[in-house]
Amino acid sequence: MSKSFGFNTLGLHAGYTPDDRHGSRAVPIHQTTSYMFNDTEHAAALYNLEVGGHLYTRISNPTIGVLENRMAALEEGVAAVAVATGMSAVFLSILALTSQGDHIVASSQMYGGNINLLEHTMSRFGVTTSFVDPTDHDAIAAAIKPNTKMVFGEVIGNPGLDVMDVAAVAKVAHAAGVPVVIDATLNTPYLMKPLKHGANIVIHSLTKWIGGHGIAMGGVIVDGGNFDWGQNDRFPTLTQPHFAFQGVNLWEEFGPAAFAMRVRSEGMYNIGPTLSPTNAFHILQGIETLGMRMDRHMANTAELVAFLKDHDGVAWVNHPSLPDHSCHDVAMRQMPKGAGSIVTMGIKGGRMASQAFIESVELASHLANVGDARTLVIHPGSTTHSHISADAMKAAGLTDDLIRISVGLEDINDIKADFNRAIKIAQKKTSAKGS
């Protein structure tokens, strides 16, 4: 038997061996808060990171554990911690490395929630962020200070769709002794594995493509195990004695998995954004078909982009697959299978026309999510990104006519027909108003 499996095989099997007692083939939902200890010695050992196993679901759970192992396998990371949401994955990653007075360099082109967390929440606790253009590597290098603990960004910016050259950013960050943390929600490990390009930590909102059906919230942090935390004095949370577990030095005792251990041993113990075991099960169901679904997402995206590009009611279309996209070359090099299924466009007639389009679609759903099996549309300027400043909107590549489309898995002709109809209605409405 080959012992090195492909992506789809891992998506179906990684992290789970049917148990001896029942032989359940599908991953069982361990809907429990706690676990019987064998004896007092076993209990103490679990509490002191001496043995594997589960003691309380806030910390770990067998169903969630399968999801974690599976995500580590798919991203080629040494360890993973699954959490309640993508946002809590971002927060726990920051928590694991930063303390008051520390600094983060982050991409200016990110999901609004990520920007808000850094700009408004972390700053209240003394962790400041410099936002920089993710394609300007000199600016990233210049922004790194002695107290910088990470360079944080997304591969595909949301909703500007600029693509980060992860290897180039990693080179700059590593030269300064700083790790690269990537929110890879929009690309999924199927399109690109950031760790293989030099990133050190990968975060996903599992709520999106990985779960894939718009039914369960979730997030995950995958530790690449490929950063030398002991190379400088920047990372005391990993290289100095832990406040618990008899002062364990995570870097010495857990090596490449030190970061993941810190996330679990502080983030899950002291904050506790625990994923529900049932949601872990739903997300695992999604992962089983991730490869197939992403192929279909990409095929539909390619057809829809071509259709919109040729449509005379469409003012502009943006997707990294388009040759005139500023990051086209980087996108194709990093993501040869496709650059994600988020497309943005403006309808001729400006903001009014774009809003009319959103109100006129019938098949596509107007809602605040991406990565559903169904096609979704939204006007980020008045919704997902409405809490960020005008300057930040500009930096994020957000114009006021921008419509964000998350291309679903429907028959492509039905999506095209729905869009065609809605574009025509939008134009009729706005030209009637204009005249």
């Binding site: 012992k3 090195s4 499996f5 891992l10 099997h13 990684a14 992290g15 789970y16 061996t17 010695e41 103490a44 050992a45 002191n48 990171l49 001496e50 043995v51 594997g52 196993g53 589960h54 770990s60 759970n61 969630i64 554990g65 974690e68 192992n69 599976r70 580590a72 396998a73 080629e76 990371g77 040494v78 360890a79 993973a80 911690v81 699954a82 690449g224 195990g225 490929n226 030398d228 002991g230 577990f245 008899q246 002062g247 364990v248 030095n249 010495e252 005792e253 857990f254 090596g255 490449p256 998995a257 993941a260 679990r264």
Partner: protein, 267 residues
């Protein structure tokens, strides 16, 4: 714990505990291209159960400086120096794979210092495939891939780790990739060149245990059985459905077996 040996800084994991001078000492020796992290599930476990644990990184491995030693004999002498430097008179030595060869050679050269010996996933010799040595010299990542693929049994291949969320395969690769370039090739050549396994095995008079993995494709079980037969009084423990990286794949089972050995050695 840091100890200076032959002018190089040596890192020795104590399983997260300050060593107790009066506790019996366990010396855990890692295998080719590995580090003290091979003992992830043993070091903390035994350190918290009344033993004084020493799991060193050999020179040029993990967190130790220096250059890798080139022969099993030199590694055995280095261990002797380490034990003396730490102020110990007697230790129970546990070796995995290459570390097992070193443990046997230590027992042969310095029998007075060895209270007992545990050999995990080992045979009388490790005649490393020349192709693997070639790979380790020319294309290390490919050698790491081969080692982790062949080094794990079912649980490793399916990323089913006893520590929630961990992956054996990728942890294994990262541990090896964390060593200075060329380390693995030096180790593999040292293993391949070692020819005194029979003599060393026959010389062991201390309590001994050989722990084998049923699905070991690097040091096949059959050859491990020959090793056990060559050691007077050795106990043989076979753990089914596991691969060569037994200490991480089956930490609980390995610890249970080792405990029986330690009871016998009084260590």
């Amino acid at each position: 714990m840091q100890i200076s040996i032959n002018d190089a800084d040596v890192f020795v994991s104590t399983g997260g505990r300050t060593p107790d001078k009066d506790a019996p000492v366990l010396l855990f020796l890692h295998g080719s291209g590995q580090t003290h992290l091979s003992w992830l599930l043993q070091a903390r476990f035994f350190a918290n159960r009344g033993w004084s644990v020493m799991a060193p990184d050999f020179p040029g491995h993990g967190l130790s400086s220096g250059v890798p030693l080139t022969t099993i004999e030199a590694m055995a002498d280095w261990c002797h120096t380490l034990i003396k430097a730490a102020g110990h008179k007697k230790v129970t030595v546990i070796g995995h794979s290459q570390g097992g060869l070193v443990a046997m050679e230590l027992a042969r050269r310095h029998p007075e210092i060895v209270a007992g010996i545990g050999l995990i996933a080992l045979a009388l010799a490790i005649p490393v495939n020349p192709q693997l040595i070639g790979m380790a010299e020319d294309n290390e990542p490919a050698a790491f891939d081969a080692m982790v693929t062949w080094g794990h049994g079912h649980d490793g291949a399916f990323h089913d780790h006893p520590m929630p969320g961990n992956s054996h395969i990728f942890m294994g690769k990262r541990i090896m990739a964390g060593n200075p370039e060329g380390t693995l090739a030096v180790d593999l050549k040292a293993c391949a060149a070692y020819a005194d396994g029979e003599k060393a095995a026959a010389s062991i008079t201390q309590p001994a245990m050989v722990i084998l993995a049923g699905d070991d494709s690097m040091t096949p079980c059959k050859q491990g059985q020959a090793l056990a037969a060559a050691i007077p009084h050795a106990k043989l423990v076979k753990i089914e459905h596991a691969g060569h990286m037994l200490p991480v794949e089956r930490g609980d089972d390995v610890n249970k077996a080792l405990r029986r050995l330690f009871e016998q050695t009084g260590a």
